[in-house]
Amino acid sequence: MGRETPKQQQQISYTVEQLVAVNPYNPDILPDLENFVNEQVSSQTYSLEANLCLLRLYQFEPDRMSTQIVARILVKALMAMPAPDFSLCLFLIPERVQMEEQFKDLIILSHYLETGRFRQFWDEAAKSRHIVEAVPGFEQAIQTYAIHVLSLTYQKIPRPVLAEAINIEGLSLDKFLEHQAANSGWILEKGHGRGQLIVLPRNEFNHPELKKSAGDTVPLEHITRIFPILG
């Protein structure tokens, strides 16, 4: 089964998303939703809404649940971090299913990511290659999440900390840093004695002075309330 052309892909996902919007409480769409999960995996797209819809249908008819599909949904949800999608999915999966080995592994992976334990995460992910390699884009997605957390936390980050978080070392890391410096505004500095320091782009979370003072702005709708008085 070859990959569908982009135009065909678009048609199928449009239809599934329509189904979810218009007729979500319908057991007949279960096969379409399952296909759509596989679609998301192979084409590196993602739809939380469709996946929640499927998990709900599995909840209504547990005999039709495919644990393989559920595992794929969870991996995709993990890739959506920092969004809480993984726990939103877990809320809909029965406890006895969550006790199965592959789900316990995924929950551990999620736990490590939620608590910033990146080294432990990559170690564990290496052991669960069969799960994570089955979903293309997994590594990059987690690296993106790691960088997100680092960007919230650090103005200047030592190279070893970064390396551990994104699981890239040596020459590959050099290339990665070059790429980020060229495209994402990272600046490479020499740290005092201990090696490289990477300056991450400024944002309101690692540079609090950039935080927009929401208190000073007044929305237009509020001003309209006094128009009759002014007028």
Binding site: E95, T115, V149, P208
Partner: protein
């Protein structure tokens, strides 16, 4: 009205209708009841909404308290001939009949099934026929609310398979469509769609439609029933999704209603409270603590001000119960996300009174703390359900607690992940800068562990909102430069703009009042 949520279901045999309470004759119609149905029927035909509301809210309660304290009302067959055997009126009467039964007595399985049939018939009429009625919002809200409540009640009942009699099991097998989850969801969805309510609310924004302005009532000779049922069904869908544990979809169903404004949902106190309770709970489970705190704060302040006016109403007990539950949820939110400045003084003092001590214990994150989180969550959470059909294989088990246990477990799991944050917060409060090494020392962990803790702090205090944006809800923040932590405390922002706006409106009001005074 949606009855007491802690309702204990007593096992009953399925053909027990007449033996339910000694001396109950379903065919006996007291004069006051005859008068009641005749007048109600007339008011409905004449579209006299005010009178309907009085009879529905007050007379029905009075008669129930006086004559039907612990028996059902007369059967619909007994009263039908007083109202021309009008089909729609009979369906409405039966709906009230069952609601009364659920509130005062314990429904048998057969009664549960019959109630489902009645809702189906009633809803079919509203959805597929032109219904020329105007009913009070209170009644329409109660219909949706009760519908969802009876569904929840049925799922709880059905999940207790252990002590079911043979007849009950036979009935369950036979009527497997009764209260099935697809039916419930699809009816609510059908109301939303057929009423076109989402488009109506959209068009209302630029004056294309009139709905909120008329409280949902139709002043051009039409009916408000479908539209308002469609509107309340959105809240109904939010409720059902919360019961299933699907918070994301629940919130999505509520989206067309702007809860930052007054609306038809605030026209009925029960609807207002149910909406905000579930909205807040869903946000809590999605880790959007600030949003939950804001909404709980608003509604708790509102309830504090108005509850005295509802002392005589049949909803009073429910209002009080939900009030207490929301204080518990607020205590949880504030323990996980300290944002004291978001809470109004009155609400805060009530909160301190009820949960002050527990909150300080929750923030210690030891075993005792988890026990309190467990206790408050269990007290305040919705009655989660397992929607799937039961297994009739031996041995029969009770699985009515499964859904609740799962939600509780996952919630406590999240709490556990935040365990170390309280410790780090204490230190951040004291230092303006501190090296990673030193802080690791004070906290008695190694540096990599400290880094993980700091990452966790950042991740957990920066939630993803409904638009996918990152919002910081940290009262205390920091950034790291190489190996130095710099602490930043967020200053409370003075809202000058808001202040001036409020004063302008206030003074204008005063001037208007003064103009009105005529010196004698």
């Amino acid at each position: 009205m949606a009855a007491n949520y802690d309702y204990e279901e007593a096992p009953g045999t399925y053909d027990d209708v007449n033996r339910q309470d000694l001396g109950y004759d379903p065919n006996f119609v007291p004069d006051s009841v005859k008068s009641f149905v005749v007048h109600l029927y007339r008011h409905i035909r004449e579209k006299n909404v005010y009178e309907i509301h009085q009879m529905y809210e007050i007379s029905f309660q009075t008669l129930s308290n006086r004559l039907f304290k612990d028996t059902p009302w007369p059967s619909v067959d007994a009263v039908a001939h007083y109202v021309d055997n009008d089909q729609v009126f009979c369906l409405l009467y039966r709906e009230m009949w069952f609601r009364h039964l659920y509130a005062r007595l314990s429904p048998t399985l057969k009664q549960r099934i019959d109630s489902w049939d009645n809702y189906c018939s009633l809803f079919q009429v509203v959805l597929h026929r032109v219904v020329n009625m105007q009913l009070p919002n209170q009644w329409l809200w109660d219909m949706v609310d009760e519908f969802v409540y009876q569904f929840q009640s049925f799922c709880q009942y059905r999940a207790k398979m252990k002590n079911k009699t043979e007849q009950e099991i036979a009935l369950l097998r036979q009527f497997d469509q009764a209260w099935n989850v697809y039916g419930v969801l699809n009816y609510l969805q059908a109301f939303v769609e057929k009423s076109n309510i989402i488009q109506i609310l959209e068009q209302e924004k630029d004056g294309g439609e009139q709905f909120t302005a008329t409280d949902g009532y139709d002043y051009s000779g039409g009916s408000n029933v479908l539209k308002v049922l469609g509107y309340f069904s959105m809240v109904g869908l939010l409720r059902v999704h919360c019961l299933l544990g699907d918070y994301q979809t629940g919130l999505k169903c509520l989206l067309p209603i702007d809860i930052s404004q007054q609306g038809v949902y605030t026209s009925v106190i029960g609807s207002h409270i149910a909406t905000i309770y579930h909205y807040g709970f869903a946000n809590l489970m999605m880790r959007r603590y600030v949003e939950a705190i804001r909404e709980f704060n608003k509604i708790l302040l509102y309830i504090y001000k108005i509850k005295q006016f509802h002392e005589k109403s049949p909803q009073y007990e429910q209002i009080l119960k939900k009030n207490e539950q929301m204080y518990a949820l607020l205590a949880i939110c504030l323990s996980l996300c300290p944002q004291a400045k978001l809470v109004e003084e009155t609400v805060n003092s009530q909160l301190r009174e009820k949960y002050g001590e527990k909150m300080s214990r929750m923030q210690r994150y030891d075993d005792e703390a988890f026990a309190i989180y467990d206790e408050l969550f269990s007290y305040a959470c919705p009655k989660f359900i397992t929607p799937s059909a039961p297994s009739f294989e031996e041995p029969l088990v009770n699985y009515n607690q499964d859904a609740y246990r799962l939600q509780l477990k996952l919630f406590l799991y999240e709490v556990k992940q935040q365990q170390l944050l309280s410790g780090v917060r204490t230190f951040l409060k004291v230092y303006s800068t501190i090296s990673l090494g030193k802080l690791a020392n004070y906290m008695e962990v190694d540096e990599p562990t400290l880094r993980s803790i700091l990452f966790t702090y950042k991740h957990k205090t920066h939630a993803v909102d409904s638009d996918g944006k990152i919002i910081s809800n940290a009262d205390l923040d920091f950034y790291i430069d190489d190996d130095m932590i710099h602490v930043v405390e967020s200053k409370p922002v003075k809202r000058y703009g808001d202040y001036f706006l409020r004063q302008i409106v206030k003074f204008e009001g005063m001037i208007t009042d003064m103009d009105r005074i005529k010196l004698e």
